[in-house]
């Protein structure tokens, strides 16, 4: 099931295949999470928006007519929910919230234990540096890169849907932000 296309998983789920749904959730969860993180919601709000996005997709399975755009659909839905939460709280998106995107996460990924291995320590050090430098970027760069770093890499259409920006603006901004990140790492 892991090698099925996302649209194939979506179509199977829409026909009632629970395993396909699970695989779809695993496939696109990092995208939804990235959109939520890019909007830098407080932890509890981030969890709620993630859930609403998936609940909405489950309800709309038989209504979405273009299976290949399910990622964009989720990205748009997640963004709209993020914006509503932000509006409702009357809060501006924090520019430096150390509680968000902190390297200490509640749920450690399986990679964490793997990286205990000495051979991987160097890689972990490097990724810690990359992550710390990422935190120093401007808000605009963090927003874009946080979505781009979803796994698997999102399409430009999905990134545009996630952030409400034009597809054509992504490439140049991405290049500029990655260059800035490279400078920070070299400093």
């Amino acid at each position: 099931m892991d090698d099925m296309s996302t649209s194939g998983l979506f179509q199977a789920a829409a026909q009632g295949d629970a395993e396909a749904w699970r695989a779809l959730v695993l496939r696109l969860s990092p995208l939804v999470w990235s959109v939520v993180r890019a909007h830098r919601l407080p932890e509890a709000d981030a969890h709620e928006v993630y859930q609403t996005a998936w609940f909405r997709l489950a309800d709309n399975l038989s209504r979405i007519k273009e299976p290949d755009k399910v990622g964009s659909w989720l990205a748009t839905t997640s963004r709209h929910e993020c914006l509503k939460v932000i509006r409702h709280s009357g809060r501006v998106v924090p520019t430096s919230d150390t509680d968000v995107l902190s390297p200490v996460a509640d749920d450690r990924s399986p990679e964490t234990s793997v990286l205990e291995a000495e051979a991987a320590e160097q890689e972990a050090d490097r990724l810690r540096q990359v992550w710390a430098a990422f935190e120093l970027l401007s808000e605009g760069c963090r927003r874009l890169l946080r979505v781009l770093m979803a796994t698997p890499p999102p399409s430009y259409a999905e990134v545009a849907a996630a952030l409400g920006i034009a597809v054509g603006s992504i490439g140049p901004t991405r290049g500029r932000c990655l260059n800035r990140l490279r400078e920070l790492l070299a400093a």
Binding site: R22, R56, I64, H88, A105, D107, T112, L127, L148, A160
Partner: protein, 195 residues
């Protein structure tokens, strides 16, 4: 209208913050297998830059290490499949004061949030007031009449709407929220919102 550019099929995306990057206008025509940097964008854009991919990959690994999707959330999303509503029961979000308020620069959480969901032959209005960490949800089913109102989700609650179709739910915890309305032979279920 139920295309990916229209989340929830509710029509609300057109009224809130439709921007040039919405999927309808910004779709590049790529498939879902990821970006293909050698592909020309459907809008006529030239090749997208290839530089920086290695650093982007490092960011991807860093995100997987330092900010993964919380495992318990993934399980909730998987379980969403079993509580999904029947397509014919889904009442679409027609109005949301939070969407209308998009143009306002700052909006406090002190005003109630108003929502309307529509289903063939019926609507349901909700007024949500945040009090501390809880919410009060007052609602009315139209045309008026008694009904059974059930919240969806982990802590399901059932209340009865009065002859005018009015009901209230107190102490509703923040999170994804949806209600199912049953009256006579009819049943409809609102789209999920975050409260």
């Amino acid at each position: 209208m139920h295309d990916p550019g229209d989340p929830g099929g509710s029509g609300d995306s057109g009224r809130e913050d439709s921007l040039p990057g919405d999927p309808r206008s910004g779709d590049s025509g790529r498939n879902d297998s990821g970006r293909n940097d050698s592909e020309t964008d459907a809008s006529g854009m030239d090749h997208l830059p290839l530089g920086g991919d290695e650093l982007e990959e490092e960011l991807r690994r860093a995100a997987g290490l330092f900010d993964p999707v919380p495992a318990h959330l993934v399980e909730i999303a998987v379980a969403a499949f079993t509580v999904r509503t029947v397509d014919t029961e889904l009442a679409e979000l027609l109005f949301d004061s939070l969407a209308v308020a998009a143009a306002e620069p700052v909006r406090g959480g002190d005003q109630p949030r108003l929502l309307t969901f529509g289903w063939p032959g019926a609507t349901i209005d909700l007024e949500i007031t945040a009090t501390g960490g809880r919410n009060r949800v007052a609602g009315q089913v139209l045309p008026p009449g008694p009904a059974r109102i059930e919240t969806r989700g982990a802590r399901a609650v059932t209340v009865t709407a009065d002859p005018l179709g009015r009901f209230a739910l107190d102490e509703v915890l923040p999170g994804a929220f949806s209600v199912r309305c049953v009256r006579g032979p009819d049943a409809f279920t609102t789209e999920w919102i975050t409260i």
